[in-house]
């Protein structure tokens, strides 16, 4: 069996490299490796027999040979080249990662009000008390074996810290670039801590500048403290040979607000797991997702919202447009615990199939144990509204254009939720070009033409 070989190889990867892995990380990270690895060993890479991965076949992705290194890498990226491509350009404080590793010279960047952006690895040495409190506290190695694998292997990533009452003038943009002609398997680990009353705007961009085969297994833990506010956006714009699996765990304290958008424009296999725990009363959580996919791409968004306490609101809106032979999956799970009275939860998933070969599977689930709640979910799979098409054609708009307009309007509902103006315009532009089929052709350089 293929899966047995994959699991054996990954286990061997851990056992043969454990010395390197530990040597280049701090003890506070290392102490979780053994037990996480045990959990991974038990469960292995999830297969289609795992209910959560029924629609996402990971075997072809994991089967390929990737390069792996657990030693620090030295990558030079000329920043003047960076924004030539489609990397979202904003008036933001940019931090670069390559293959999930922090590559800036300044390992720890301090901003006014005590805000910190740093290499995950360096920060774990410098701020052990924060890591002790938050690291590996929100994720679950028992039901997510890929998160367990990440915990066992990860060495670096990004660390963001907003102390009490802090904020930054500009949004923080983190760009993870894939620059390597050879393929790579990387495990990125991020930790974001937003303390009481702080306000943060964070943008994660996954971009690729070269065309090797990549497999990223990212884990992010986010703590949103009392009355804190976090706007979190994720733009996935890689190439068709890159595979991106991410597990994001969000823990929300009392009266906190989490507002997130995930925009998947290009990529081979994209799998986003979100696990939101509304742990205290009065939390608010909004999650928007848009996937525009074609060729043989696959995107899967799995969102699990856990209403543990009363008076929380959660809202999810996920949309997908699938072209060619693309496949998509959505699974939402709203869990309302017995004590979570006065809960408002809503999840919506809308999908458009443009060809007969595209396939969409959706599973919006509600699991409710409290009686004084308002929960609803809706899912549709269909095609562009014929009446609307006719209306436009009758007014002399060409078919292609009418189609574009409708698709754009469909997508825009998710994009307009972005609260940072420049970013919203940027994503709108990207989406429009994506729908026109122009995104695989970069305006300024020829890096993507290869994949077109």
């Amino acid at each position: 069996m293929k899966i047995d070989k994959i699991n054996k190889d990954l286990q061997a990867l851990y056992s043969t490299n454990i010395k390197d892995i530990n040597d280049y990380s701090s003890p506070i990270i290392n102490k979780y490796r053994e037990s996480a690895f045990k959990e991974f060993k038990k469960a292995g890479v999830p297969t289609k027999y795992n209910e959560d991965y029924k629609y996402t076949d990971l075997i072809p992705t994991f089967e390929k040979d990737y390069n792996v290194t657990f030693k620090p890498i030295d990558v030079q990226i000329k920043t003047e080249n960076l924004f030539k491509c489609d990397v979202v350009r904003l008036d933001a404080d940019v931090t670069l990662l390559s293959r999930g590793r922090y590559i800036e010279e300044q390992k720890i960047k301090e901003f006014p009000k005590g805000v910190i952006i740093a290499s995950f690895n360096e920060a774990s040495k410098k701020y052990p008390e924060i890591f002790e409190k938050h690291y590996a506290k929100y994720g679950n190695t028992k039901n997510n074996s890929l998160y367990a694998l990440n915990t066992a292997l990860a060495q670096d990533g990004i660390f963001i810290y907003f102390p009490k009452n802090s904020y930054t003038e500009k949004p923080l943009q983190i760009i993870n670039l894939l620059v390597d002609e050879k393929g790579f398997f990387y495990n990125t680990r991020n930790l974001i801590v937003i303390e009481e009353n702080a306000q943060a705007n964070i943008i994660f961009c996954d971009d690729s500048l070269s065309t090797g085969e990549f497999l990223g297994n990212t884990a992010t833990e986010i703590y949103v403290g009392k009355n804190a506010k976090l706007n979190f956006y994720k733009i996935q714009n890689e190439h068709n040979e890159s595979n991106n699996i991410s597990s994001t765990y969000i823990y929300q304290d009392k009266d906190s607000v989490f507002h997130a958008g995930v925009y998947s424009l290009l990529g081979g296999l994209i799998r986003n797991n979100f696990d939101i725990n509304l742990a205290e009363e009065g939390c608010e959580s909004d999650l928007f997702g848009l996937s525009l996919i074609d060729k043989k791409q696959h995107t899967a968004n799995f969102v699990h919202v856990n209403h543990s306490k009363s008076h929380c609101n959660s809202n999810q809106l996920f949309k997908t447009i699938l072209d060619d032979k693309a496949t998509g999956a959505f699974s939402g799970k709203v869990y309302v615990a017995k004590d979570a009275q006065q809960t408002n939860a809503n999840q919506t998933n809308r999908n458009i199939l443009l060809t007969d070969d595209a396939k969409m599977s959706t599973k919006p689930q509600l699991i409710i144990y409290a009686d004084d709640v308002k929960c609803s979910h809706g899912a549709t799979v269909g095609q562009l509204d014929e009446d609307a098409m006719f209306y436009m054609r009758a007014r002399g708009i060409r078919k292609k254009e009418a189609k574009m307009l409708l698709m754009y309007a469909f997508a825009n509902e998710c994009i307009s939720a972005v609260k940072i103006d420049a970013l919203r315009e940027n994503i709108q532009d990207l989406a429009q070009r994506r729908l026109n089929g122009e995104l695989s052709l970069c305006r300024n350089c020829s890096a993507r033409v290869v994949n077109a």
């Binding site: 209910e51 629609y55 017995k338 009275q341 999908n351 199939l353 443009l354 060809t355 007969d356 595209a358 396939k359 969409m360 599977s361 959706t362 599973k363 919006p364 689930q365 509600l366 699991i367 409710i368 144990y369 409290a370 009686d371 004084d372 709640v373 308002k374 929960c375 609803s376 979910h377 809706g378 899912a379 549709t380 799979v381 269909g382 095609q383």
Partner: protein
């Protein structure tokens, strides 16, 4: 006594009202299951070789399988060796008229209020009653036979129409479909068989009545309905069981095969014993029901009212193979006390222009858990397939759970699938409105719930609709949210 008072009185009897046992002289094969028992059942029924082979194949498959626990149910371990797989009321001889029926049995029927006696025959329902495992009496056979409609017990069908049975048995639910269908295929004892010939509209509603009576027995009945071209039949199914402390197993298989232009309407009012208030006893209702709309323009409509059983695991499904075929699923599932239900439907669209509608209403009260689990699958060739699903849940009380697991898998770009669901509780405004007009809270709840479920209840045939409405009220008695 006025009609309303009577209903109110009935409503206040919130104990399970069908909980009597009948003192038949039952004959059984003893507890346990093995290849020998399977052979014995087959021999006892004088079955042909091919059917025995079928049973053995199913048994060997079942033996290798383990019970899967993907459903949102907490199923205690079932000791399959502690169940009597075959039990029949004695004496068994060919019955010609009602007078020959065991008086005890007749009394049972009277208590159940099922129309077996002359007077009730006027109500025009043909009944096939299955007690424990054996079909005891099928009424109206001759009249139906004039039209060529075959309505008889399964074992008679095996004897009299072996070709038909052989052709359709397992054609919709193969023996290896799931754990319980395999078990049923191995040990099924009896059930009903319906065949509607070409162009015939069944003049009356056909009905089967299932009752588990003897202790420790499992009921494994098998229903096979075949609707030939351009025919129509409406089939009703009702179930009750006595009150017992132990759990009893009911694992039935229903197969419906529908040819071109034919239509079948299948209605169930399931009221197996749900166990007592502490959750002790009750029936495990693990049923596989599936129909295939094989021909063009065929139609299958499922309606179910599920109020009984300690655990319900049931997904009446439709395979829409013929072009332009239609399927409907209307369901009300009520759980109270410690009941658990994981029920829903599967609509598998294979043909062009196929349509399906799902309306599911779940009501949970007490400490119960009620889940809707449904699949809408549109195949690659199912052009213009259309689905609409709506599943609502109503919660009464803060200790119950209501869950929805819809699966939507679309493989065709001309398909449209919609799913909607809401979960809410009975609003205090509504109850207040009723109270203000002098309606006590309990009745108000009954009223509101019936209104909520009306969409489904309206689909039931007359006789059942009345019974179902009362059942809803009984089941929810004393469960003010």
């Amino acid at each position: 006594m006025k009609e309303e008072d009577k209903i109110i009185q009935e409503v206040t009897e919130n104990e399970y009202k069908y909980g009597f046992t009948s003192d038949f002289n039952n004959e059984d094969l003893g507890k346990g299951i093995n290849e020998n028992i399977v052979r014995l059942i087959s021999a006892k029924k004088g079955e042909p070789e091919w059917l025995l082979e079928y049973r053995l194949k199913a048994f060997r498959y079942w033996e290798e399988q383990k019970m899967k626990n993907w459903a949102h149910l907490n199923i205690p371990d079932i000791n399959y060796q502690d169940i009597i797989y075959y039990s029949e009321p004695k004496p068994k001889k060919k019955l010609e008229s009602m007078d020959e029926v065991d008086p005890e049995l007749r009394e049972t029927f009277e208590k159940l209020g099922i129309p077996l006696d002359e007077q009730k025959i006027l109500s025009g329902v043909a009944v096939d009653a299955v007690i424990d495992s054996v079909s005891v009496k099928t009424t109206f056979r001759e009249k139906l036979a004039e039209l060529g409609v075959i309505f008889c017990s399964f074992s008679e069908a095996v004897k009299d129409y072996p070709d038909l049975v052989k052709k359709y048995l397992g054609s919709v639910v193969p023996y290896n479909d799931n754990y319980f269908s395999a078990l049923n295929s191995a040990v099924f004892s009896d059930g009903s068989f319906v065949y509607i010939p070409k162009g015939v509209r069944s003049p009356m509603e056909l009905s089967s009545y299932f009752r588990i009576n003897a202790e420790n027995t499992g009921q494994f009945e098998r229903t096979l309905i075949v609707a030939d071209e351009a025919s129509y039949v409406s089939y009703l199914e009702g179930c009750t069981a006595p009150q017992r402390d132990e759990n009893q197993l009911h694992a039935a298989v229903v197969e419906i095969y529908i040819h071109t232009d034919a239509e079948v309407k299948y209605s169930t009012v399931q009221n197996w014993y749900p166990g007592n208030k502490e959750g002790k006893g009750g029936i495990f209702n693990f049923v596989t029901k599936r129909g295939i709309c094989h021909g063009e323009n065929s139609k299958l409509s499922w309606t179910q009212v599920e109020t009984g059983s300690a655990i319900t695991w049931k997904y009446p499904s439709t395979i829409l193979k013929g072009d332009n075929s239609t399927a409907e699923f209307f369901s009300v599932a009520v759980t109270n006390n410690h009941q658990q239900a994981d029920t829903g439907t599967k609509m598998i669209h294979l043909g062009k222009n196929t349509k399906s509608t799902i309306i599911s209403k779940g009501i949970s009260a007490g400490k119960s858990n009620n889940s809707y689990r449904g699949l809408v699958k549109v195949g690659k060739k199912a052009e213009n397939a259309r689905n609409f699903s709506q599943c609502d849940s109503l919660l009464m009380g803060s200790e119950c759970g209501a869950h929805t697991y819809p699966y939507i898998e679309i493989d065709n770009n001309s398909a449209i699938a919609e799913h909607e669901a809401t979960t809410s509780k009975i609003s205090e405004d509504q109850i207040f409105y009723c109270n203000q007009r002098g309606i006590p809270t309990d009745d108000a709840i009954g009223l509101i719930v019936n209104g909520y479920a009306k969409e489904v209840l309206n689909k039931l045939p007359m006789e059942f609709a009345v019974e179902a409405q009362k059942l809803l009220q009984i089941s929810l008695e004393g469960s003010v949210g």
